[in-house]
Amino acid sequence: MTTGTNSSRKAMGSAALLALAAVLPLAITEPSQQNFLILILMGAQMGVAWNIVGGYAGQVSLGHAVFYGIGAYTSTMLLTTLGLTPWIGALAGGLLAAVFALAMGWPCFRLKGHYFAMATIAVAEIMQILVTNSDALEGAVGLYLPMDRNGWGALIFLSKLPYYYVILGLLVLTVLVSWAIERSHIGYYFRAIKDEPEAARALGVSLTRYKLIALSVSAFLTAMGGSFYAQKEMFIDPGSVFATTISIKIALIAILGGVGRLMGPVLGAVILITIEEYSRTLFGSTGSGTDMIIYAAMIILVAVFSPSGVLGLLGDLRRHLPGAKPAEVKTSAKEARP
């Protein structure tokens, strides 16, 4: 059994990655480049959070922006109306999103596959319409965050560097939660539900309960990401946090990098955000569509050739390198079946 050396190698790799991430902004000091790194971390955090329900448990949500938006709006409203510090506001937003996830998941998890995905799109769209037409939330006009204070208490900073470390911390937290789930019985149950839900039931697994756990944890973490977005941008409106494009992006990041693998979405975020930002600078305005073409082509290729994403592709490639163990000769059940 190789779990011993394998997991300690992975742990060292992750630690090295974290160390690199921690010192990177000290070397890369240009603000727009630091912003680029922050965007990658934000994307990675959203993707890892999505992966918990979409990758591990296999429940594909194409409406995750609804949680992002709930987080952004909750912490911002609490800040503007009660002066509550966004550190607590983000937790409140996370909690609210989790409760919303429970309410939405309870009826929707009866639906299978495509139907569930459709329902998530519908829920997010409905929410966006409701918020856009809500006077209390300033509707389409949006909310501005007060600029009168800054510093760690207010989670508003004058330079990019502190934002970087906050989002890095949130990403690490999200990865740790994902990792803890993965190695606990919950993680095993998620994978069972994804592979063979009926067989899982026959082993005593309550599908609804575990899907709800997956969705609410994912919602909580996604909402925290939304709160960070609000603090960084100092302005939110329905189009920037509830839009379907956000839901698509979140799912894309996870799919590209590798659904169901811990660090997959991190890789996906690196790829996606890089393409997004560089096609923007290379081809001009966002109206060019080139970034869409590139990552759409990637997602189609990944869907057709490797459902495990780029990380899966890399894993497959590694096995073909010299020095790798030869694949076992097998008459697998798949070939034996007529």
């Binding site: 995905a117 409905i126 060019s288 073409i293 459902p307």
Partner: protein, 288 residues
Amino acid sequence: MTADILIQVLVSGLLIGLIYALVAVGLTLIFGVMDIVNFAHGEFLMLGMYASFWAFALFAIDPIVALPLTALLLFAVGVIVYQTVIRRILKAPMLSQIFATFGLMILLRGLAQFFWKPDHRLIPHSLVSGNIALGPVQFGLPQFVAALGAVGVTGALWMFLHRTRLGTALEATAIDREAATLMGIDGQKMFALAWGIGAACAGLAGGLIATFFPIFPEVGSNFILIAFVVVVLGGFGSVTGAFLAGIIVGLIEVLGGFLVGPEYKTAIVLSLLLIVLLVRPRGLLGKA
């Protein structure tokens, strides 16, 4: 609300509902034959609209006259999409299938945006411009013709599926793929045919509404969600169901928008989707 206003609302709902029906029949056909939800269906409609636009802008062909051309073009697009992408994910896990058509949606939008820019375009005039007044009711001629066209195409599709050999073979594949194969029906050809016809229907819908609706790369998103609602309400795989459901959804959208507020009409239609999914997922006429 007076009777006149009510009739006006119902007529508007009926007209737009028939368009929705036409968009949805292609989507439901594809699902019925091969259990794949085409998230890129709205983009076939978008391409149909652009085909009409360019026929008009470059060759001064009226959109109505261009309809057969649009249909053929989109049929080809559907078949090509099937051969290049869909064929490879037939046996893939559902996740991959969702992502593949999803990626297709983004790809087509991106291509449209790249080649034709995001500007909204309009076809300023066509054979069918103008309004009709019928007693207390007023409606645009383009909308009326589009609705008529929708009825015609849906009817033709139904005839094709139930009265021709090829169409019956397609239906047979939808009902039981293995049995159909045993009877000598080529599954691959049927799938390609389904995609071709499905895309052509969406393209025709696009061509029909290009006479009055703005044309831009993201226009598909306006229709894809509603098409889903229609397909779910009508029942996955049922062309008749999609026809009836399209009308119902159109009526609910306009009525709901009138009673609650036009900014909420999409929310109302989407709520209908959720209700149907939760209460009766197989819809009106779908297979159980």
